[in-house]
Amino acid sequence: MSTETMTRAEAAPAVLPVGRYGYDQVDRTFLRERIEQFRDQVNRRIAGDLTEEEFKPLRLMNGLYLQLHAYMLRVAVPYGTLGSKQVRALARIAREFDKGYGHFTTRQNIQFNWIKLEDTVAALEVLAEADMHAIQTSGNCIRNITSDEFAGAAKDELLDPRVHAEILRQWSTLHPEFTFLPRKFKFAISGSPHDRVVARFHDIGLIARPGPHGRPVFEVFVGGGLGRTPLVGVSLRDDLPEEDLLAYMEAILRVYNAHGRRDNIYKARIKILVQALGTDEFRRQVEEEFAAMDRARYRIEPALVEAIKARFGAPDFAPEGNAAAVLAEDRRRDVRFDAWVRTNTHEHKAPGYISLVVSLKPAGGIPGDATAEQLDLLADLADEFSFGELRVTHLQNVVLGHVRQDQLHTVWQRLSQAGLGTANVNFITDIVACPGLDYCALANARSIPIAQKLSSRFADLELQREIGDLRINISGCINACGHHHAAHLGILGVDKRGQEAFQITLGGSGEEDASIGQILGPAMAEDETVDAVARLIDLYLVRRENGERFLDTYRRVGTAAFKDVVYAPA
């Protein structure tokens, strides 16, 4: 194969994709081989050479679930970054193989809920043409590595984490030792001190910062997670040098692979092992393995990091000019635009630029859903205004990372015309919800309709601004795919004697002040729950002090008062 001798210059395409690793022929060959392997697996299943029990983990490792009504295909979006061509491929899959929708998830992926088994290989081929895949989006292996939606753009960022996310992606893809772990394994990585990746609720959360000698170092959190045993991860070490990143990750995973529980699926996550051993003993075992390794074999040399980085396109920022002044003037002239800028943008490190969040949460909408037409529009906007790149957020929105401030008004108008201009990011209607009983075979209750009802109830933007930052997350069962534990106000669907009912949790946070929401009391019917939320908000508005967020007030006032208004309405 000629790639063996190919120099990097030859391998580099004319234009590298901005913000993510650009595939070359070697990467594409690997994807094709993976598709052929999957085709073979499907054929062996059909021929009866594989039992359904044997086929299941294999198809899961290709992102294919069997859900309530159909197969569901989960497509990987490594570190949440997408190119416009990829978004158009997703739109095509939505149109040709689904019912015209895609659903962005809390792990920065996108799912299609109505895929036929016999169409799966064709869908994978459409993805592969756009350098995408569904590898390891499910199964007991290392899942998609999530990252900061403002990576490479945020003003508060110390280091763009996506290069290391890509290194971790490559390393974990079909890793020979870690593809049949006790349970799924989730990584998140951030390069900002402000935790926007829920690092402390991951199996491994990494926070990167520049270290001595100009190379990154990592703080390593282990054993966080949600689900039926929600736990905040523990910091295993604060100073992991870049060159040892893979060695240390292998050491952690080896301890987990050897000692993680396999007798009980509910106790199989690494968080249970860390708890059972205690942080000190767990750390000791990891260090012991780490010390025994032939570390030279695992070392990530700066040259390797630089080579991977060299396959990331970097935006070519224009000089600031009068962009900021134009934006200021646009805001002065248009109150609705001004309100949107206040909620839906994020400060950019490059002068004259800004990051914007496209809310996929219109009043009464389904959180995270995008139509094929909206996907195409987002791809167009990314091409015209953001270097062809966009990002998926773990809050089920989409980000255009680098928009010129003087073009923001135009972008907003185009978004608004397509129903994507809602000014509600981080507000009460910016609800996160899992697929729930509408799609999910494990659900106890429907998450989507209650999200829609809450979203309609609080649709008034004036009121939302008055309420301020408030995170509502909804899960249809204790697995917590909707991150309800990490919400200021979480809603958990339960089964109450055969009826769908909902429990409210208060006081969770997924950021650097990570905390797990407390259950307020017994579950209620859907409409009662919506009313109860309204009373909680009223109480907050009465009790809050100077500029407090809902979460602050709750933490200060305590549970009792909130419990009273929910269960003993005046």
């Binding site: 063996e4 120099t7 990097r8 391998a11 030792e177 593809t179 390797l304």
Partner: protein
């Protein structure tokens, strides 16, 4: 039970110890709890079955006298033996035969090899062609194997896999 090496059936010259019977002469693979009995034997080569719940360090003393170590998959989803095989090579520098047995799928074959397994026991009614194909599905891996000297492709973590 057919034994595969490099995707092809090879003759298995080893026999497993039978419970309740003396080990006798010749090449024999013993269960872990009969290891000392095996080590005490005067003639014949020795192999041992390593339960997947044990650390490979339990074989440290016996290692120089072992020609085969069998790592086990009670069910294909239980991946502990991948780490064991790798640790036998990487930490104990074992150079003999590492054999995989139990419930294994062709789809795991490449992983086994890249963790340092060199022979695999497969069930008699298995489709041999699937194992052969499994070795050729991939020409590229995206991480270094800790135990094989795979050739880097020029940049990144990617490796060309040796095609046997």
């Amino acid at each position: 039970m057919p034994l595969l090496e490099n995707g092809h059936p090879v003759e298995d010259t080893w026999r497993y110890a039978v419970e309740g019977e003396a080990l006798g002469a010749g090449d024999v693979i013993v269960p872990f709890d009969r290891l000392s009995e095996g080590l005490g034997r005067a003639e014949g080569r020795l192999g041992v079955i390593l339960p997947n719940s044990e650390s490979v360090s339990v074989l440290k003393e016996a290692l120089p006298k072992l020609a085969v170590i069998v790592v086990t998959f009670p069910i294909f989803r239980d991946g502990r033996a991948f780490s064991q095989a790798r640790a036998l090579r990487e930490h104990l520098h074992f150079t003999g035969e590492v054999r995989a047995s139990g419930h294994i799928l062709p789809d795991q074959y490449e992983f086994l090899i890249r963790c340092g397994v060199n022979t695999v026991e497969v069930s008699g009614n298995t489709d041999m062609a699937a194992w052969e194909r499994a070795l050729h599905h991939f020409t590229i891996a995206t991480q270094p194997s800790p135990v094989l000297d795979e050739k880097p492709t020029g940049f990144g973590l990617r490796r060309f896999l040796a095609t046997p």
